[in-house]
């Protein structure tokens, strides 16, 4: 066997993934310190800092509900978007708003390869041993949503769980961990 193939084989040695563990209830002072009013500089916030007058600035706001439809007050949501032009990574905990909202201020992503625009959300909380991925699509993108391959792969009755509804001044996106309206989560 030629030497380079042997080397390739060594490189393919699979390492076992480090297991995931819950974020727990006490992440606030570490991961979202300024939002939770702790004296430690935050590296990650919930507002995009790019200033661009041509961009469509939007707010995405919602709550997370458990299997008994109670809002969850100790979840952490991360947002990641990349349409090839604008990239944004945000983070927000649901423990500082009186009604346990999370909120992000960002730029609406553009369509990539004719697919509907979306942002990715990652959901962490006590009671989740492993985080959950979902996507936020937008209710005012009817044409692109209707032809989107990911949305069309979702059973019609569940599709609306990941389409944020445009309301006065923001897109509302509620996350249901369980039950009839359970949000579609993805294996990413």
């Amino acid at each position: 066997m030629p030497l380079h193939l042997k080397i390739d084989k060594t490189m393919n040695t699979t390492k076992t993934q480090t297991p995931s563990q819950t974020v727990g209830p006490y992440f606030g002072y570490g991961l979202t310190s300024e939002q939770y009013l702790y004296d430690f500089k935050s590296l990650i916030t919930n507002k995009i800092t790019i200033l661009d007058s041509n961009s469509d600035y939007i707010t995405i706001k919602g709550k997370i509900f458990d299997g008994e439809n109670n809002p969850i007050s100790d979840a952490m949501i991360e947002l990641w978007q990349n349409d090839g032009h604008n990239r944004f990574f945000g983070r927000f905990g649901t423990g500082t708003d009186a009604e346990n909202h999370f909120v992000f201020q960002t730029i609406k992503p553009k369509s990539v390869e004719n697919q509907a625009p979306f942002v990715t959300l990652i959901v962490f909380m006590r009671g989740q041993l492993i985080h959950s991925y979902t996507r936020v699509y937008f209710s005012d993108e009817e044409v692109l949503n209707a032809q989107d391959t990911v949305l069309n792969a979702i059973p019609a009755e569940r599709r609306n769980t990941i389409i944020a509804q445009k309301k006065a001044g923001c897109y509302e996106f509620n996350i249901y961990m369980q039950g009839e309206n359970e949000t579609v989560f993805f294996a990413v």
């Binding site: 702790y38 990650i44 458990d66 299997g67 990349n82 990539v112 294996a187 990413v188």
Partner: protein, 235 residues
């Protein structure tokens, strides 16, 4: 390997969403199967934190919150290497950590455990891996603490870790434990990990990393999901 299956969570290692002994999972674990997703640009990329200016004491929890003296407890130094599933180092990736103090108390106001706060210890910090994927931070060994999961439930000593890698699917939040902790056997959060993965969460005491007259050394190596050592079109 197809685009769909690449980077999946290893079900022989990772905990399930629902684990009845950890009672908080009962109302919070997704109940319907996850949908497989063909990766798009968004999933093939992730935040790179290269522009972030870490504070000079961000990786030293024994010093980053001093008010009027040294924090109480056993000083430790934690070293490790972050690699992907191929064993390739993950350079310049952000690691965030948070933990209880030596008495088993978190600063977080939700924590009402009747143990003292330490005015000189916040319990959070962060560092970046170097060009070889290595990291290091100084802290105080965290204490065990009771929690409400079941009668006489105690969490083993642990440090919370948050890591990114270079795409959104390599995101990891985990907990580092200490060797020989008798509470591990009774902890449903630790036990929820499949047998093949449990040992990977236990740091190793290392006399070579131990700094004489200063701090005990522990090693905690981390393997992130994924096979790409370099970011894809992140800029």
């Amino acid at each position: 390997m197809s685009d769909l299956m690449e980077n999946s969570f290893d079900i022989e290692v990772q905990p399930s969403h629902l684990y009845l002994a950890y009672t908080s999972t009962i109302l919070r674990a997704p109940s319907k199967p996850l949908l497989l997703l063909k990766k798009s640009l968004t999933e093939k990329t992730g935040p790179l934190f290269e522009d972030f200016n870490l504070g000079i004491l961000d990786n030293d929890l024994t010093k980053n919150a001093i008010k009027n003296g040294e924090p109480i407890g056993e000083r430790i130094v934690v070293h490790g290497k972050v690699v992907n599933e191929k064993g390739q180092p993950m350079p310049h990736t952000l690691i965030e950590i948070w933990q209880a103090n030596a008495a088993g108390r978190y600063v977080h106001k939700v924590d009402q455990h009747d143990a003292p706060l330490d005015p000189n210890f916040l319990g959070t910090g962060r560092c970046m891996t170097d060009s070889e994927g290595n990291y290091r931070f100084y802290t105080i060994k965290p204490g065990a603490y009771p929690w409400g999961n079941h009668h006489n439930a105690w969490r083993p000593n642990h440090i919370h870790f948050s890591l990114f890698g270079n795409e959104i699917s390599s995101r990891l939040i985990t907990q580092m434990y200490f060797p020989g902790d008798p509470l591990l056997e009774y902890d449903p959060i630790y036990q929820a990990v499949k047998a093949k993965g449990r040992e990977l969460l236990i740091s190793k005491f290392d006399l070579n990393l131990t700094e004489p007259d200063f701090a005990l050394g522990y090693r905690f190596d981390i393997v992130l999901r994924g096979h790409n050592a370099t970011p894809f079109e992140n800029r």
